[in-house]
C-alpha cells in the first residue's frame, strides 16, 4: 500500500516533470523544423522555459466571463489534468511494476481516455462562448467516434496476448517480439490505427478540430486565462505523453529491450512516439470536422474490425504460441 502510494506520487511527479521537459523539447523541435532557434534564454539552452511559462501563467488574473457557469468553469481544467494523469497509473514501468496493476488495465486506460472528454465539454459549455460551444460539440463528437477505432486497435494486442493486463501484454511481447514487428499483419496496422485514434482522442493535429485556432479562436479554451488555461494546456501534453507511453507499452514492447533496465526503454520508446506525434503536428494541416468523421467511420472502423478478425484468426492458428 505504502509502496503503491509512493510509486503513485513518484509517477505523478515524473509525468509532470516529463511533461515540462516535453514542452521544452517540443518547442525546440518545432523551432528546428521551422528554421528557428526556439527558447534559449531561460536556463541553459532554454531548459527552464516551461517554469517561466508556469510562473507567468500563475500570476495572471483569472477572468470568468459574465454568464458563465462558474462551478463547471472552475472545475473543468483541474479535472482534465486528473483524468489525463489517471491513465498513467496503469503503465507498467518495469516488469511486473505499475502503480495500479489490473487484469483489465487496457479497458480502464481507454475508459479514462474517454472520460477526458467530459471536462473538455464542461469547459466549452460553461464558458458561455459560441466558439467554445462549437469546440465542445466537436470534441464530444470526435471523442465518441474515435473511441471505436481506439478500442478496436487495442483489441488486437489483447487478442494476440490473450490478456487485458498491460503488463501481461508487455510480457507476451517480450517473449514473442513486439506487435509492431510480429505478427506483422494485424500488429503493424493496428499500431498505426492506434496512433491515429490516439491522436484524435488527444486532439492533436491533424485532428485538433476542437481547438482549431484558425477557426474557433481557441475552441474550448477561448475564455480561459491564467492557471486555468495552464491546466488545460498541461492536460493536453500529459495526454500526449501518457498516450505515447501506452502506445509503446501495447505495441512496441514497453520495458522490453536489451542492455538497459526496463524504465529506460519505456522512456526511450515514449520519446520516439512523442517525437513522431509532434513531427506530424508541425508538418500537417488539419482536417475538417466532416472529413474527420468520414475517415473514422468509413475507413478506420472497418479496418479495425478487419484487424480484430485477423488477429482472432491468427490466434486460432496458434503460430504465436
Amino acid at each position: 500500500m505504502i509502496f503503491a502510494a509512493s510509486l503513485a506520487a513518484a509517477v505523478v511527479i515524473v509525468v509532470l516533470s516529463a511533461t515540462a521537459l516535453a514542452l521544452w523539447y517540443e518547442r525546440k523541435l518545432a523551432a528546428r523544423m521551422q528554421t528557428r532557434i526556439g527558447p534559449q534564454f531561460v536556463g541553459p539552452i532554454g531548459l527552464f522555459q516551461p517554469v517561466a511559462d508556469l510562473l507567468k501563467l500563475v500570476q495572471k488574473e483569472e477572468i470568468v466571463p459574465m454568464g458563465a457557469d462558474r462551478v463547471l468553469f472552475a472545475l473543468a481544467p483541474p479535472l482534465t489534468v486528473i483524468f489525463a494523469l489517471a491513465a498513467a497509473a496503469f503503465v507498467p514501468l518495469w516488469p511486473g511494476v505499475a502503480v495500479v496493476r489490473s487484469d483489465v488495465g487496457v479497458l480502464l486506460v481507454i475508459g479514462f481516455g474517454g472520460l477526458a472528454m467530459v471536462p473538455v465539454w464542461m469547459a466549452g459549455w460553461a464558458s458561455f462562448n459560441k466558439y467554445a460551444l462549437l469546440g465542445a460539440m466537436r470534441a464530444v463528437a470526435q471523442s465518441i467516434s474515435y473511441g471505436v477505432p481506439l478500442v478496436l486497435a487495442a483489441m488486437v494486442p489483447v487478442i494476440l496476448a490473450g490478456t487485458m493486463d498491460l503488463d501481461g501484454i508487455t510480457q507476451f511481447q517480450a517473449t514473442h517480439h513486439w506487435f509492431g514487428l510480429w505478427p506483422i499483419i494485424p500488429g503493424l496496422p493496428a499500431f498505426i490505427l492506434f496512433l491515429l485514434a490516439m491522436l484524435a482522442e488527444s486532439n492533436r493535429i491533424p485532428f485538433d478540430i476542437p481547438e482549431a485556432e484558425s477557426e474557433l479562436v481557441a475552441g474550448v479554451t477561448t475564455e480561459y486565462t491564467g492557471m486555468q488555461f495552464g491546466f488545460v494546456y498541461l492536460a493536453e501534453y500529459v495526454h500526449t505523453v501518457v498516450g505515447a507511453a501506452i502506445g509503446s507499452v501495447m505495441f512496441l514492447g514497453g520495458w522490453d529491450g536489451p542492455f538497459a533496465p526496463g524504465l529506460h526503454w519505456l522512456l526511450l520508446k515514449t520519446l520516439c512516439l512523442f517525437t513522431f506525434i509532434y513531427w506530424i503536428r508541425w508538418t500537417l494541416v488539419r482536417l475538417r470536422a466532416d472529413q474527420l468523421m468520414t475517415l473514422c467511420w468509413k475507413w478506420l472502423v472497418p479496418a479495425g474490425l478487419g484487424l480484430v478478425f485477423l488477429s482472432a484468426a491468427w490466434n486460432q492458428t496458434g503460430w504465436s504460441r
Partner: protein
C-alpha cells in the same frame, strides 16, 4: 441606353424556416478573429456547423485615405496609399502615379517603365508567397503544420524585402514611385542579387508545393470548396487570380498592357474549377511566371533615365488644373485602379476627388455566395483563398 441589371437570386436560405433559439446559431466571425486577415466581421448564421447565411461587414479598418487625399498635395499622397494594400505597396503607389501621369500626359522613360515592371513582379512574388503562408496558417493553424509553411514562406519574402530595402531604403512602405518615373535607380550589384533571390525561390518552390497544394490533406480541404463561377465573378467585378481561377482569361498585363508588358508578353495563368484549390494553383503558377519575368526584366533592363524630370522637391510643385483620369494595373489581387478628378481650390495642388478601386473589396462581395452550404472550417479556407487585404478593402 437602357441599363439591364441581371437578375441575381439571393444566395441565402430562408432564415424563417429556422427557429432562432433552436437550430440556428449566429456566430460573429470577427472583427477580432485569427483568420479574418485583419479586421473583417462576417456574420454567420449556422445550422449546426453549416452556414446558411453569411454577411460580411467590412469597414473596421477604414482610415479615410480617399478623403485624406483631397487635402494632400499630389506628392504627399504616395506614402499614404502605400498603406492601403499593405502586402503589395508597390502596386498602390504605381496605380496612383499612373493616374496622375495620365492627367499630366507624362511619358515615363523606358528604363523607368522596365524598373516599374520589375518592382511590380518582385512585389507580386512577395505577395503571393505571403498569401501561401497565410493560407497554410488558416488551414493548419498557428500551432501546427500551417505555421511551419508560413515561416518558410516568410523567409522567402524576406529575400525580396531585402532587395527592396537596398533599392529604396525601406523594407515596406517604399515611396519609390513618383510622378514621371521612379525615385531610386538600381544600385551596383543589385541585379546579381535579384538573380540569386529568384533562383533560390525557384529552387524552394517545390518544397512549398509539397507542403501545400501537392499535399493530400491540403487538397482534401481545398478541392470543391468555395466554387466561384466565372459568370458570378464577372458580375461582381472580381479580378485577378480569383477571376482567372474561375476560367476567365483576363489579365491587364496582357489585355491592357502598360510599362514593360508592352514589350514582354505575359503568359496568363488560368484554371477552370473556380474552387480554393484552383485559386492556389493559379497563384503558384503566377509566381513561377513572375519569376520568369523578373529574370527577363533584369537582364533586358535598358539604359537611360528612370524619371522624365527631376523628382519634385516641394510638396506643391505639381499642379493639375482640371480633368479626370482612371488608370489601373494588375496588382497581385487583381485590377487596382485609381480614378482622380483634378482641381481642388485655387492652388490646384490636390485633387477634387480621388477614388481607389481595390480588387479585394470585390472579392469579398463573393463571400455570401461562396460560404453558404459550407461549414465554419471552410469559411476560413474560402476567405483565405480569396486573398483579401483589409487595408485595401476599407482604405
Amino acid at each position: 441606353m437602357e441599363v439591364t441589371t441581371p437578375v441575381r437570386t439571393l444566395p441565402y436560405r430562408k432564415l424563417e424556416l429556422y427557429e432562432p433559439e433552436g437550430d440556428m446559431l449566429t456566430l460573429q466571425l470577427g472583427p477580432q478573429h485569427p483568420s479574418t486577415h485583419g479586421v473583417l466581421r462576417i456574420k454567420l448564421h449556422l445550422d449546426g456547423e453549416k452556414i446558411i447565411k453569411a454577411v460580411p461587414y467590412p469597414g473596421y479598418l477604414h482610415r479615410g485615405v480617399e478623403k485624406l487625399c483631397e487635402q494632400l498635395t499630389y506628392v504627399q499622397m504616395i506614402p499614404i496609399v502605400d498603406k492601403d494594400d499593405y502586402i503589395a505597396p508597390m502596386h498602390n503607389e504605381q496605380a496612383l502615379v499612373m493616374a496622375f501621369e495620365k492627367l499630366l500626359k507624362i511619358e515615363v522613360p523606358r528604363r523607368g517603365q522596365w524598373l516599374r515592371s520589375l518592382l511590380s513582379e518582385l512585389q507580386r512574388v512577395a505577395s503571393h508567397i505571403f498569401w501561401l503562408g497565410t493560407m497554410s496558417l488558416d488551414l493548419g493553424g498557428a500551432l501546427g503544420g500551417g505555421s511551419t509553411n508560413f515561416i518558410y514562406c516568410l523567409r522567402e519574402r524576406e529575400l525580396i524585402l531585402d532587395l527592396f530595402e537596398e533599392l529604396t531604403g525601406s523594407r515596406f512602405h517604399y515611396n519609390t514611385h513618383c510622378i514621371g518615373g521612379n525615385r531610386h535607380d538600381i544600385p551596383a550589384g543589385w541585379a546579381a542579387k535579384v538573380h540569386d533571390a529568384v533562383n533560390l525561390i525557384r529552387a524552394r518552390l517545390p518544397e512549398y508545393e509539397a507542403m501545400s497544394c501537392n499535399h493530400r490533406l491540403f487538397i482534401e480541404r481545398m478541392r470543391g470548396v468555395g466554387v466561384l463561377t466565372g459568370a458570378l465573378a464577372l458580375e461582381l467585378g472580381i479580378t485577378g487570380p480569383n477571376l482567372r481561377a474561375s476560367g476567365v482569361d483576363h489579365d491587364l498585363r496582357r489585355d491592357a498592357p502598360y510599362d514593360a508588358y508592352r514589350e514582354i508578353p505575359v503568359n496568363v495563368q488560368t484554371a477552370k474549377e473556380g474552387d480554393c484549390l484552383a485559386r492556389t494553383h493559379v497563384r503558384l503558377a503566377e509566381m513561377r511566371e513572375s519569376l520568369r519575368l523578373i529574370d527577363l526584366l533584369i537582364d533586358g533592363m535598358p539604359t537611360g533615365p528612370i524619371n522624365s524630370s527631376r523628382p519634385a522637391k516641394q510638396a506643391n510643385q505639381i499642379k493639375i488644373p482640371s480633368g479626370q483620369a482612371y488608370a489601373s494595373l494588375e496588382s497581385p489581387r487583381g485590377e487596382l485602379g485609381t480614378f482622380v478628378v483634378a482641381g481642388n481650390g485655387e492652388a490646384n495642388t490636390s485633387p477634387y476627388r480621388l477614388k481607389i478601386r481595390p480588387p479585394s473589396l470585390h472579392a469579398l462581395a463573393a463571400l455570401p455566395y461562396l460560404l453558404v452550404g459550407h461549414n465554419v472550417s471552410d469559411a476560413v479556407a474560402i476567405l483565405g483563398s480569396l486573398d483579401p487585404i483589409m487595408g485595401e478593402v476599407d482604405r
